[in-house]
């Protein structure tokens, strides 16, 4: 299993797109914290910023695009044809020849994605929180380590969610479209919360409750949110692994 994880990590780190995801995730949140510092300070001074302890954590919700990309390319790269002139030849064929037990392969990939995203999320969280502390100073309360850890966990779970969805759809375009749109201002999940309050328990919305106090209109305790999100990810990963086991590669 250790060899397998090692192999998956090396494959993932050999992909240019994975590096785009890694760097994007590392840069986006601190950059946003710096760029929006002026507007945020004004908002806090005018008292329209909502919960001030959320301020430092808000940029982290944007940076997790990098985690999404990592989760997607871990699967989509395997299905891309490896040579221009041999459209049928795919990395997946080689991978399965080396590791025919498919459930173990799915597990190893999940561990590789989680490890990378956890490291990325931890570095980004520390950098973003330190930067916010530096530029906003006494305007925001000091960040609690527990919430920072929850934010990193949220990153890992979203990376795994992207991984599971790509396993199910076998297409990076669909997963990326769904997840990017849902983390933006025209989020379909958010729209559904206006229709039924139950939609607040959809995986991409409930996870934010783990480290933010002000999300939408529904209040969910951080622990409940974490459990619900973990259950979603586990279920989708199970479905993805089962489909992967049954389907021809």
């Amino acid at each position: 299993m250790v060899n397998l994880i090692h192999a998956e990590l090396r494959k993932l780190l050999g992909l240019p797109t994975a590096w785009v995801g890694l760097v994007l995730g590392l840069i986006a949140a601190p950059a946003l914290a710096l760029l929006s510092a002026g507007a945020t300070r004004q908002a806090i001074e005018r008292g329209i910023a909502g919960d001030p302890s959320d301020t430092a954590f808000q940029p982290l919700g944007i940076g997790l695009l990098g985690a999404l990309i990592l989760g997607v390319v871990a699967v989509s790269s395997e299905y891309t044809s490896s040579g221009e002139d041999a459209p049928g030849a795919r990395q997946m064929t080689t991978t399965l020849a080396a590791m025919p037990r498919r459930y173990r392969l799915v597990g190893a990939k999940a561990v590789a994605v989680s490890l990378l995203v956890a490291v990325q999320g931890a570095i980004t969280a520390v950098a973003t929180l330190a930067l916010t502390e530096m530029v906003l100073g006494p305007l925001v309360p000091p960040a609690e380590p527990g919430r920072a850890a929850a934010a990193v966990l949220y990153w890992v779970l979203l990376g795994l969610l992207a991984y599971a969805l790509t396993l199910i759809f076998r297409s990076g375009v669909i997963t990326l479209t769904v997840l990017i749109v849902n983390s933006s201002v025209v989020s379909v999940s958010y729209l559904l919360t206006k229709v039924t309050p139950l939609a607040a328990y959809l995986p991409d919305i409930v996870g934010a409750h783990m480290f933010l106090n002000d999300v939408g209109d529904v209040d969910i305790a951080p622990l409940t949110a974490g459990l619900v999100m973990t259950a979603w990810v586990a279920a989708l990963l199970g479905l993805g692994a089962w489909l992967f086991d049954r389907r021809e590669a």
């Binding site: 946003l32 507007a39 221009e84 479209t177 201002v185 025209v186 379909v188 229709v195």
Partner: protein
């Protein structure tokens, strides 16, 4: 020119991925109209149009490298680039109009067409549908709204300017780069 145009139109109308994207876009647009979203339904139809543009431009670079067959048939690159853009605009216009009608805002057709051309230009430059989808959607749905809310002083160029710049860059890269 006519021959190149015809070939490009045939390629576009026979691709299953484009039909699927269009069908999904229409279905989602119709469904979302029921919920009456605060930002209007066009914002959601726009997502489908962007994916459509990326796939329409990127499909020739996928497995098999069809772009080399196209260039063998039409070696003059500026001609092929222009034919591609004209064919995409002409073929997509009626479908985009239907999308706008389904969203209840026929006036949005022009804007959606320009969005389509921007997405196609990004797809041509990046040559990788998954990467291009990520870039286009991130820029449209996260980047631009972020700049608008957090940096209201920065003036963003209007859509026609964007589209023209994107098309010029994509044609220039297409003509200069090894396929």
């Amino acid at each position: 020119m006519i021959g190149a145009l015809r070939a490009e139109v045939i390629k576009l109308v026979t691709l299953p991925s484009l039909r699927l994207t269009l069908a999904l876009t229409w279905a989602v647009t119709l469904l979302l109209r029921l919920t009456d979203p605060p930002r209007g339904v066009v914002a959601y139809g726009q997502i489908g149009v962007l994916v459509l543009g990326v796939l329409a431009a990127g499909h020739e670079y996928q497995a098999g490298g069809q772009i080399r067959a196209s260039l063998l048939a039409v070696p003059r690159r500026p001609l092929l680039a222009v034919a591609k853009i004209v064919a995409l605009t002409a073929t997509a216009a009626p479908f985009v109009l239907v999308t706008a009608l389904l969203a209840g805002e026929p006036g949005a057709t022009g804007g959606l067409l320009l969005d389509l051309l921007v997405a196609a230009a990004v797809g041509t430059v990046l040559r990788h549908p998954v990467g291009a989808t990520g870039v286009v959607l991130t820029a449209y749905e996260i980047g631009v709204p972020l700049v608008r809310t957090h940096l209201p002083d920065v003036a963003l160029p209007s859509l026609p300017v964007w589209a023209a710049a994107a098309i010029v860059i994509s044609v220039a890269t297409f003509c200069r780069r090894e396929a």
